[in-house]
């Protein structure tokens, strides 16, 4: 039949056009900027090749059968035979998928194990630890060794493994820098870990991929890869010029809000490590837009830093004199831009 052929032709041509445009195009996953992303890409390319083969075989067989056995004016009297199957053929098309799966499993498992480790060739370089804390809707990067903290951007030295330690102050996020490697979740009261390496100096996009409310779409950050020398200079400059963050400023930051970059010459780790299962909660249910409708009950949270019952966090809070931090708060910090109705 003409129509089914048309279907096939249109389908395959759409595929082909898109695939071809895909190959010459610079889709980020196909342009790895570091060894981890490159390893993953090798796996992806291998799977694409194999899957393309499967697709072509099945499409070809399908087109052939549908074309050859279509009903025509001259075969209306043909009665198809009674045919119940063929054990041999059925075994063949059980075994072929098994072989394909085995062929995919081996490199998959290898890569899964490999990307959990510092990539080959970088083992002797000392990893730089960066603690990543995600909050609604910003990324907080703490450099414990350097004693500095950046918000919504992260600078890293090239050619050196970065040991990202991920956690969240609230909702779950997923930390993804596609040019450098795969993603990992950041979860409250838990720590996940991700190694990434950048080959060269350059600027890459990083973002959250796990939906976490109204500010989700804007939860991006810039990754700036620098030479070790530039990086050291940057750290030095931050230590000298950036302000120190206060606890109340930090608490304010954890409220649901959007803002641009910030830089500090200390880290919040001195007050709280959100990956600690016993750490305080910094939730602010009252501050979230409740959609358009009926407000529900909000429950008191005993472990919240706001319930001041004489613990360490609160003592420090009382000591901090700078209660009036609003001036340093240049950008908007209300509950998302979209709560206006």
């Amino acid at each position: 039949m003409k129509k089914s052929k048309l279907l096939l032709v249109s389908l395959t041509s759409i595929m082909a056009v898109l695939l071809l445009s895909g190959c010459e195009n610079n889709m980020v996953v196909f342009n790895p900027q570091g060894p981890i992303a490159r390893q993953i890409l090798e796996l992806i390319n291998f799977s694409i090749a194999l899957m393309l083969l499967v697709t072509i075989v099945v499409f070809g067989l399908f087109a052939f059968i549908v074309w050859k056995y279509r009903e025509r004016k001259d075969n209306m009297s043909y009665e198809p035979p009674e045919e119940h199957g063929s054990t041999v053929l059925e075994i063949i098309w059980t075994v072929i998928p098994i072989l394909i799966i085995v062929a995919l499993t081996i490199p998959t498992v290898k890569t899964i194990y490999a990307i959990d480790e510092i990539p080959q060739g970088y083992e002797d370089k000392e990893p730089l630890v960066i603690n990543v804390t995600s909050a609604d809707w910003k990324w907080i990067f703490s450099y414990p060794e350097q004693g500095i903290e950046t918000i919504n951007y992260v600078n890293i030295p090239e050619d050196r493994p970065i040991d990202f330690r991920l956690t969240s102050a609230g909702t779950m996020q997923s930390f993804w820098i596609p040019a450098l490697g795969g993603q990992k979740y950041s979860m409250a009261k838990a720590e996940t870990q991700l190694y990434l390496v950048a080959d060269n100096p350059g600027s890459y996009v990083g973002r959250n991929t796990n939906f976490n409310g109204q500010g989700y779409a804007g939860m991006e950050f810039e990754v700036l890869s620098q030479t070790q020398k530039e990086f050291d200079e940057w750290v030095k400059e931050v230590k000298e010029t950036a302000p120190k963050m206060t606890l109340s400023e930090y608490e304010k930051m954890l409220e649901p809000s959007h803002f641009g970059r910030k830089t500090f010459s200390n880290t919040h780790l001195e007050w709280v490590d959100h990956s600690d299962p016993h750490s305080k909660n910094y939730t602010n249910p009252e501050m979230y837009d409740r959609g358009h409708g009926w407000p529900g009950k909000i429950f008191e949270d005993k472990d919240n830093y706001k319930n001041k019952d004489g613990n360490t966090v609160n003592t420090k809070h009382d000591n901090s004199e700078d209660m009036n931090h609003n001036e340093s708060e240049t950008d908007d910090s209300h509950g998302g831009e979209h709560s206006g109705h």
């Binding site: 279907l7 249109s10 389908l11 759409i14 889709m27 980020v28 996953v29 196909f30 992303a37 796996l43 992806i44 799977s47 499967v54 099945v58 399908f62 549908v66 056995y69 075969n75 209306m76 009665e79 198809p80 119940h84 053929l89 059925e90 998928p97 394909i100 799966i101 995919l104 499993t105 998959t108 890569t111 899964i112 609604d136 779950m172 596609p178 795969g182 979860m187 838990a190 973002r207 991929t209 939906f211 976490n212 409310g213 779409a217 909660n281 939730t283 249910p285 979230y288 837009d289 409740r290 959609g291 358009h292 409708g293 009926w294 529900g296 009950k297 472990d303 998302g336 979209h338 709560s339």
Partner: protein, 659 residues
């Protein structure tokens, strides 16, 4: 307590305001029309209180089609919003609500009701039975599903819609981060609908095991019966998990417990595990019956027995077992150990093996056949290449290390639409075109059907193919906007245009239903497709008792062999006996209403009122316990008259209506 009406009704948005008025007007109009045409009685006795599996099936289908309109409008709104960068058609909150309701409605209130509706209509006929095992329970299943769907749908005009995704992951979905009541609608409405589905599962397991006609052994059942049977088993195995998870969610959100919250020692990932322990099998719950329908339809229009029947059965059993062992592939990136991720990668990829077997069996069913391109067959054919794309991308996603780059991107969204639309929606369309004459006594128009087919299939590919590439370029799911620098604009625009073509295809279906109801030929005989299974052996549309005398089966494709060997029994008067059937009952619809009311009150966290309303549930149970209605008998004369009428014209139109 004074109710703040401006918070009770969702206000402040012209779109929503317009739909509120639209809904109110439609309801008033429907009530007025029913009264004017004096149809209340008809509606009540023929439909609302029916326990007939065929009518219940049709009500499920009607509900599924209506919900498809709602879910489809949600889909179009999302495509409209993301068609260009930094669009301001929907804001973040609206987009979040829309993708949440779209996902939930499409899976639970479109795919499930349409499939369960077709199952309801077809399975008892295919196994030569007069009804399902528990007809009243069947009606209750429907009314609970309907009640859940209505409760879920009013959220956008009353109270506020859920907005945490169809997966409603904690901690986001908890009170700590979503303090509105929107997500209560999710927890409560799905609980009610889920109870209905669980009962359907139980009902069909028993029906298939106990109600088969003489001679129909398990290995002689039509493939749609087989897959529905296995699906029912998966329902029984997995829905209780969802029930528990939703109950815990309700406790967290309305009573302040800490199962999934981040405070008080709750475990947010416990929700993700429970959700996907149900959620992944759920994918197979919708895909398997669809596979069964395809098997029967392909075999009918290729005029050949299904190839490799035994290996088909083995593969569905394998798929059902594996479907319970793969849930972790939804969160490979959670920081599991490499060993765990490897294990779940392998189990997931292993599903490709039985699925591959099925595809080859379908292809070889057509080989040496004589393929007739009816609309139903076109949908079944289009399934193969499109589903293969969904399948191979599924294998790619199953490779945990690679998934680190695909996870939560539009690549994933494209993949699951390539599984769900060709794998569930195409077969449902095929099934509707195929069984429509059995249901209503006339066919859907084939010409309009082809418009429906080509627009929908092309639109579908244009919509979702670009999303693979967008995902590989770093575009994430559930983001209401993106900046122009990302360069996503052009592909997003193509995709949006595709969704308009797709919507036009769906409009053609709706028009086809309307056109055929008014103009189609009613004179079509009982077997217009020259089909193979028992549902075609009886009248069209099917008489309420299904079979005058229950058929006797000796082979697969029983009806086909009866036709070939001239074994179709003529009507002999002394063979006919009185038929015992169950009476109508008001209890199921009453239960649906009461569940809806107490659910609604629970959503608003008026727990005392909800508890009082729930007393009505016990009242319904009590009524049922003291209900001694034994059903009624269809008399011999009536049976004889009905049978003579359809048999007279049984053979006309057999060949002339398919062209």
């Amino acid at each position: 307590m004074g109710i703040k009406w401006d918070e009770f009704f969702v206000t402040g948005d012209p779109l929503i305001f317009a739909s509120q008025i639209g809904i109110a007007l439609t309801m008033i109009g429907a009530l007025a029309a029913l009264t004017y045409f004096k149809k209340w009685n008809y509606l009540w006795t023929e439909w609302l209180t029916t326990v007939d599996h065929k009518k219940i099936g049709i009500m499920y289908i009607l509900m599924g089609v209506l919900m498809f309109v709602r879910g489809g409008i949600d889909g179009l709104m999302m495509k409209g919003q993301t068609a260009v960068p930094e669009n301001e058609f929907l804001n973040a909150q609206h987009y979040n609500e829309v993708f949440t309701t779209h996902g939930v409605i499409m899976i639970l209130f479109v795919a499930m009701p349409l499939l369960i509706g077709l199952m309801n209509f077809v399975i008892p006929l295919q196994i030569g039975a007069r009804d399902v095992a528990f007809p009243q329970l069947n009606a209750l299943s429907f009314w609970l599903t309907f009640s859940g769907a209505m409760l879920f749908n009013i959220s956008f005009i009353i109270g506020g819609s859920p907005d945490a995704g169809w997966t409603s992951y904690f901690p986001l979905a908890g009170k700590e981060f979503s303090p509105g009541i929107g997500n209560n609608f999710y927890a409560v409405a799905l609980q009610i609908a889920g109870a209905g589905t669980l009962m359907t599962g139980i009902n069909f397991v028993v029906t298939v095991l106990k109600m088969r006609t003489k001679g129909m052994t398990l290995m002689k059942m039509p493939m749609f019966t087989w897959t529905s049977f296995i699906t029912s088993i998966i329902i029984v195995a997995s829905f209780p998990i969802f029930t528990v998870a939703l109950a815990l969610m309700t406790f967290d959100r309305t009573f302040g417990t800490h199962f999934f919250t981040i405070s008080g020692g709750g475990m947010d990932m416990l929700w993700a595990n429970l959700f996907w322990l149900w959620g992944h099998p759920e994918v197979y719950i919708v895909v398997l019956p669809a596979f069964g329908m395809l098997s029967d339809i392909i075999s009918t229009f290729a005029r050949k027995t299904l190839y490799g029947y035994k290996s088909m059965v083995i593969s569905i059993v394998m798929i059902s077992v594996l479907s319970m062992l793969v849930w972790v592939h939804h969160f490979f990136t959670m920081g599991n150990s490499a060993g765990v991720n490897s294990f779940f990668s392998i189990t997931t990829m292993a599903i490709a093996i039985p699925t591959g077997v099925k595809v080859f069996n379908w292809l070889f069913t057509m080989r040496k056949g004589r393929i007739k391109f009816t609309t139903a067959m076109l949908w079944s054919l289009a399934f193969v290449p499109n589903f293969v794309i969904g399948g191979v991308t599924g294998v790619m996603l199953a490779m945990a290390a690679a998934d680190y780059q695909y996870h939560n991107t539009l690549f994933l969204v494209a993949h699951f639409h390539y599984v769900l639309i060709p794998g569930v929606v195409f077969p449902i369309f095929a099934g509707l075109y195929f069984w429509w004459p059995k249901m209503f006594g006339y066919m859907l128009n084939e010409r309009i059907g082809k418009w429906h087919f080509w627009l929908f299939v092309i639109g579908f590919n244009v919509t979702f193919m670009p999303m693979f590439f967008l995902g590989l370029d770093g575009a994430v799911r559930r983001a209401y906007t993106y900046s122009a620098e990302t360069g996503f604009g052009p592909l997003m625009m193509i995709s949006a245009v595709g969704s308009v073509i797709l919507a036009a295809g769906f409009a053609a279906l709706v028009y086809n239903i309307y056109w055929s109801a008014r103009h189609a030929d009613r004179n079509i005989g009982n077997d217009p497709w020259d089909a193979r299974t028992l549902e075609w052996a009886t009248a069209t549309p099917v008489q309420h008792y299904n079979f005058a005398s229950l058929p006797d089966v000796s082979k697969i494709d029983a009806f086909w062999h009866m036709k070939k060997n001239n074994e179709i029994q003529p009507l002999t008067e002394d063979e006919i006996e009185e038929i015992h059937l169950p009476s109508n009952t008001w209890i199921p619809i009453y239960m649906g209403v009461i569940f809806g009311i107490s659910g609604f009150l629970l959503v608003f966290e008026w727990t005392i009122a909800a508890a009082i309303a729930a007393l009505g549930i016990f009242a319904g149970l009590a009524f049922r316990s003291f209900d001694y209605d034994e059903g009624f008998h269809v008399h011999k004369d009536e049976i004889l008259e009905t049978e003579r009428k359809w048999r007279k014209g049984a053979n006309k139109g057999v060949k002339n209506h398919v062209s």
